[in-house]
């Protein structure tokens, strides 16, 4: 376009970016406040609440619980999602589009409803995993796998298939061609998908609501339970660690894959 973005539009966009980022900045400052109660602006900075978080039985335990749950989720979601993405990527399977939509659908289904139905299902079937880490694990895999499918799918779409065909026509077995040609090409996409799966699980709230037990709570649930009554600066300090974790993950993802191209990618 001949002219840069008009002022009015740029102004709204700036306000929007501030609105999006302001709460995050506030949490960081709240966790670093020197005051006894949380106020804004903070009465000087200190690490006392960070120290309190590191000694807190509630938040530190919840943070570590979430970390463990996210790792467990990441492993399964990456395997299930990568296999499904490989299947969906190529080959003119009938109903491929519908299948892809079904596999991605959990992301947009109401988490409270899915969490409730899983909880009722675990109880009705006497599986003994209602309100345990295993039940949470299943719920989180549902919500994390779609991100792996999308990310690996994008990597597969941009990887040249003729290379693999060349390897095949030179006599490589299908497995060998896959291992030596295709896999190295999509390895970074798989790693990025795994990171996405990790953070999605780490921040998952809605599906955890019905599935977590009082003594083993993921961090979002523990923070929510305390925030209903009062604001704890050590909860904000726990938030700082979560912010660092998420920011590092997104930056790492950006080193692995081109985030811009992933977002801008149009369905064929």
């Amino acid at each position: 376009m001949g002219r840069a973005i008009p002022l009015g539009m740029a102004a709204i966009a700036t306000v929007g970016f501030c609105y999006l980022l302001l709460p995050i900045v506030v949490v960081v400052l709240a966790g670093l406040t020197a005051g006894e109660i949380l106020t804004f602006p903070p009465q000087g900075l200190s690490l006392r609440w960070v120290a309190a978080f590191l000694q807190s039985e509630v938040y530190l335990a919840a943070f570590l619980f979430s970390f463990r749950l996210a790792l467990m989720t990441m492993v399964v979601a990456t395997i299930l999602g990568t296999a499904a993405a490989l299947f969906l990527a190529r080959g003119n399977v009938i109903g491929r589009q519908a299948m892809r939509a079904f596999f991605l659908s959990p992301v947009v289904l109401p988490g409270v409803v899915v969490g409730f139905s899983l909880y009722a299902f675990f109880i009705a079937t006497n599986l003994g995993i209602a309100r345990t880490i295993w039940g949470l694990w299943i719920g989180h895999v549902l919500y994390s796998t779609p991100y792996v499918i999308a990310t690996v799918g994008a990597a597969l779409a941009s990887c040249d298939r003729s290379l693999e065909e060349a390897a095949r026509s030179l006599g490589a077995s299908p497995l060998r061609a896959f291992r030596r040609v295709t896999l190295p090409n999509i390895a970074q996409g798989i790693q990025a998908g795994a990171i996405f799966a990790f953070i999605v699980s780490f921040g998952q709230f809605e599906v955890s609501l019905f599935l977590s037990a009082p003594n083993s709570e993921p961090l979002p649930i523990a923070m929510y339970n305390s925030m209903r009554y009062k604001f704890q600066p050590d909860a904000a300090a726990a938030g700082i660690f979560a912010i660092i974790l998420v920011t590092a993950s997104v930056l790492l993802t950006n080193r692995l894959i081109n985030i811009r191209r992933l977002i801008e990618r149009q369905e064929p």
Binding site: M1, M9, I12, Y19, L20, L22, P23, I24, V25, V27, A30, F40, A83, A84, L88, A89, G91, A101, F103, V108, L109, P110, G111, V112, V113, F116, S117, L118, A120, F121, I123, I138, L142, G153, A167, R168, S169, G171, A172, S173, P174, L175, F178, T182, F205, E206, L209, P220, M223, Y224, M227, R228, A242, V250, R260, L262, I263, E264, R265, Q266
Partner: protein, 304 residues
């Protein structure tokens, strides 16, 4: 396995799915996820539908073959549940509109950034905000919007208000929280769409003498319509399903469907009626999602 070995001896490879094997073996790749989703998504949600038709009883949920419409009759006869459904619909609609008004300019700035690096930085910010736990973001929102929060103190400091303005624990607070929650999804949907508009369309309009805004209204906006519709439906489905935002920003004073589900099940132990409310929410949300998939299938980006 013997088949795979046998095939590798052929000089020219037959069509395979990613070379993992002949077509019928490639199906194995999709079996684990399909089984997982069938067992842990389709069956539980199906049982939830049946439960919603079971007569009310106390105690742990068990699915029976006894079917009745009593729960649904109760839902539609009680004005507070119908009002909650209406409030949920209104809330999701208002949030979609506001998110579009703010999100479109943000997506536009990202899509039309002069340098790719600028777009990448902005996208990383959006993605990091989106991936960050909503409870943490709401903590920040509550510190800003509370009675003793940043905004109220600033307004009081300027002498504009004498009592704190109610920015939270009401409908407005829930809207503000949901906009914060939904903005990244709207932006990620729209960036790909705006990028996909061919520049020559706009250049043609400009070279024929149309002003920037006229070009925008007549060319850019109509060309973005499928993405705008997809983004609004996505945001609608996500915001109508949110429990955490109405719970914290509404302080349980804004009764929407997810809040009622939790109260019926966790506080009143009315599993069957809770299932009925859940089914109502599920049907509304899936309708929006299915429409989103119809309009958005060819338009949206990889993640949103």
């Amino acid at each position: 396995m013997t088949e795979i070995v046998g095939m590798s001896a052929r000089p020219v490879a037959p069509p395979t799915v990613l070379g993992v094997g002949p077509r019928h073996l490639a199906w194995l790749l999709v079996v684990p996820l399909a089984v997982f989703l069938a067992v842990f998504l389709v069956v539980p949600v199906g049982l939830l539908f049946i439960t919603s038709f079971n007569p009310s009883s106390l105690g742990p949920p068990s699915v029976t073959g006894e079917l009745t419409l009593a729960n649904y009759i109760r839902f539609f006869e009680r004005s507070n549940f119908v009002a909650a459904a209406g409030r949920s619909l209104l809330l999701a609609t208002v949030v979609s509109g506001i998110t579009l008004l703010i999100g479109f300019p943000m997506a536009f700035v990202i899509a039309r950034a002069r340098r790719a690096a600028h777009a990448t930085v902005l996208l990383i910010l959006v993605l990091a905000a989106m991936q960050l736990d909503m409870v943490i973001r709401l903590y920040g929102m509550m510190v800003v919007l509370g009675d003793n929060g940043l905004v109220n103190r600033m307004l009081a400091g300027l002498g504009l208000i004498s009592a704190p303005a109610p920015l939270m624990y009401n409908f407005l607070g829930v809207v503000l929280g949901l906009v914060q929650f939904a903005l990244p999804f709207m932006i990620l949907t729209l960036v790909g769409v705006v990028r996909g508009i061919h520049p020559s369309l706009e250049e043609a309009a400009r070279s024929l003498g149309a002003s920037w805004w006229r070009t925008f209204w007549r060319i850019t906006l109509p060309a973005s319509m499928p993405g705008i519709l997809a983004g609004c439906l996505l945001v609608f489905a996500l915001s109508i399903s949110s429990y955490i935002v109405p719970a914290l920003m509404g302080g349980f004073r804004v009764g929407v469907l997810p809040i009622h589900i939790y109260q019926q099940v966790a506080e009143s132990a009315r599993f069957q009626f809770g299932a009925t409310v859940a089914v109502v929410l599920f049907v509304i949300s899936t309708t929006a999602v299915l429409s989103y998939m119809r309009v958005g299938a060819r338009r949206s980006g990889g993640l949103a």
